[in-house]
């Protein structure tokens, strides 16, 4: 109630007039009433009424917050958080080594960033996750839907069909082995058409469309409340060319990061971003580092870096609040993202087959 007039979300012209008239706290405004206000600062009665309603709403919001009540608060005890985290689902990636180093899979309510050179498998993992988020709960999934925001145009529907078919087959095998009723019921709805129709795809051509889409996301997510995964494939691409003003870029990226954090928390969904690599030219050698600069590194909670070692693909967990840094190898097969098969297992034939659609890794164009 003692809130200063300058901090209220009113129009700036109105605020200036209130300050000139000598009003200092919100309580004074409420006491004056709309007619008195309109006479003192020279605005119409309707405008005064609107302003007072805004003030009242704000003060009520404040009061509720200090009383520790309603859903607008963001504080709770660590015990409640622990219980929440333990029951929280993870989105599995079908590569058990990767799930292990991530602590179970891609975590909900956190932002995960995947960096890597071109052709190493970032979009493949994103497509795999968009299918995996839809696995029914009885099979260990989160039974959610996915939003896929594509800025590079590398989303191939046929590939998603392949991955989804392999996932459905995998679940069928599990159901046959375990023979439980709810497994069979879940499988009826877990079909190819269903999986594909629950992936919502947006193609953003430049950073303005991306910004616009992220502004509209909260509304979209409240309409489609089952969404548990938001993938932005290629967050670096629209910001890397045509940007003379680097400070504007940093500001936009930070704003974007804030909004994504809010979306991840409010809607309990995982946000996955893919980033490109850029070369940092040091004194004697040049190293590959994630693009978009140092300040962007703070945006993501979990950072995975994909890279090559001769012809083996490796994933390194670079930044995580709860797991330690480690590197594992993975493969991309025609069924999607998989573990490297250990040499002793006889089923290992498919492990060495690379995705036929990937272009051969020859000269990588420096971006």
């Amino acid at each position: 109630m003692q809130r200063e007039v300058g901090t209220l979300p009113l129009a700036p012209a109105l605020r200036a007039r209130l300050a000139a008239a000598g009003f200092q706290t919100a309580q004074e405004l409420l006491d004056t009433g709309p007619c008195g206000l309109s006479k003192e600062i020279g605005i119409s009665r309707e405008e005064a009424l609107e302003a007072l309603q805004v003030v009242r709403q704000e003060c009520h919001g404040d009061a509720a917050r200090t009383a520790g009540g309603s859903g607008a608060t963001r504080k709770c005890t660590a015990l409640e958080l622990l219980e929440e985290e333990q029951t929280q689902g993870f989105i599995i990636t079908f590569c058990s080594a990767l799930d292990n180093i991530l602590g179970g899979g891609v975590q909900l309510t956190k932002i995960t960033e995947i960096c890597g050179a071109p052709g190493v498998g970032k979009t493949q993992l994103c497509m795999q996750l968009a299918v995996d988020v839809q696995i029914p709960e009885c099979f260990g999934g989160v039974a959610g839907e996915a939003v896929f925001i594509d800025t590079e145009g590398s989303f191939m529907v046929d590939r998603v069909v392949d991955i989804a078919a392999a996932c459905v087959q995998h679940c069928h095998l599990i159901a046959e082995a375990q023979q439980e009723e709810d497994h069979r019921k879940a499988l009826e709805t877990f079909s190819l058409e269903n999986i594909l129709s629950h992936i919502y795809y947006f193609r953003c051509r430049d950073y303005t469309e991306l910004l616009a889409q992220v502004y509209l996301l909260p509304e979209f997510l409240s309409e489609h409340s089952k969404v548990r995964l938001v993938v932005i494939d290629g967050i670096a691409f629209p910001f890397r060319h045509d940007f003379e003003d680097l400070s504007l870029r940093t500001r936009l990226l930070n704003g974007l990061a804030q909004q994504l954090i809010i979306i991840a928390n409010d809607h309990k969904s995982a946000v996955v971003l893919t980033n490109q690599m850029t070369t940092r030219i040091g004194q004697s050698q040049s190293t590959l580092v994630p693009a978009l600069g140092e300040s962007w590194g703070h945006a993501a909670t979990v950072r995975l870096i994909f890279h090559w070692d001769n012809s083996q693909r490796l994933a390194t967990l670079y930044k995580s609040p709860s797991q330690k840094e480690s590197t594992i190898a993975y493969h991309i097969t025609s069924h999607g993202f998989r573990d490297v098969q250990p040499p002793a297992v006889t089923h290992g034939a498919e492990g060495t087959e690379l995705n036929p659609r990937k272009r051969p890794r020859t000269e990588e164009e420096k971006q």
Binding site: G153, S197, Y200, R205, T208, Y215, L216, R357, R359
Partner: protein, 253 residues
């Protein structure tokens, strides 16, 4: 989309005038500002500004489609999804051929046959759909002056002797291959930007650029200081326009 004027985003007339006083005329300018700046500029309260943001965002946000709709659209038109290269093992590895709607890059050391491959793809694109082609024109942007029309006719005549049985047919085919010789980066970029209208007017079904690297390497020496950034600028701008063309018209590039 980004350069869409605010007038068309269904903002009120006086709001648009007010914003243009601060030089904010397009959606891009509007969305680049932070909330506080927007409040200052529009003179509206916080909640009003959020509503305005939503309105402007809706005007330039992309449309939603589910993956299922995309798949249905693709399966409706299976013949145009790929351009077969007629090399069976290559087609098998590529899952059908050069995909429409995306960029395909061919790299190799000199002399391996990139230009020959491009010339052959040009011939294939002009063939009718029944023979595995796309029945359309080809835009060939040549930066190395390596394109030889005689070789084009030679390949066509020897590969498909039954189809190109008369000179008439050969000439008709050559008429649908449009060659542009560009020798500098600027002109390549200008040419790419102007392609949209040509694609519609000439019913183009394939774009070939031979080659990107030669013109870039000639002009940008990476050892000089600012050149790396400029070079990547040029490349990414060209790439995004080409991607847009490929997707919009569903043609291979």
């Amino acid at each position: 989309m980004a350069a869409k004027k605010l007038r068309r985003a269904q903002l009120s007339q006086e709001m648009c005038e007010r914003l243009s006083r601060y030089q904010i005329t397009t959606c891009q300018d509007f969305l680049c500002l932070s909330l506080l700046e927007l409040m200052k500029v529009t003179g509206q309260s916080y909640y009003e500004v959020q509503k305005l943001l939503c309105k402007v965002s809706r005007a330039c946000a992309p449309k939603m489609q589910t993956a299922y709709e995309m798949k249905l659209r693709k399966s409706d038109n299976p013949s145009s999804a790929f351009l077969s290269t007629t090399l069976h093992s290559l087609d098998r590895v590529l899952h059908g051929g050069v995909p429409s709607g995306s960029l395909t890059e061919i790299t190799s050391p000199p002399g391996c046959g990139k230009t020959q491959f491009c010339i052959m793809m040009s011939v294939l694109a002009t063939l009718p759909v029944s023979m595995g082609g796309l029945d359309g024109a080809v835009i060939y942007i040549d930066t190395e002056s390596a394109f030889s029309a005689e070789r084009l006719i030679e390949i066509a005549a020897h590969r498909f002797p039954t189809y190109f049985d008369s000179d008439e047919k050969l000439l008709c085919m050559t008429r649908s291959v449009h060659l542009y010789r560009e020798l500098t980066c600027c002109s390549v970029l200008k040419r790419i930007m102007s392609l949209e209208e040509e694609i519609i007017s000439k019913k183009v079904k394939l774009i070939v650029i031979d080659s990107v690297a030669s013109v870039v390497r000639k002009e940008f020496d990476t050892k000089l200081h600012g050149n790396l950034a400029e070079r990547s600028n040029f490349l990414t701008r060209g790439a995004s326009v080409l991607k847009y063309l490929a997707e919009e018209f569903s043609i291979p590039v």
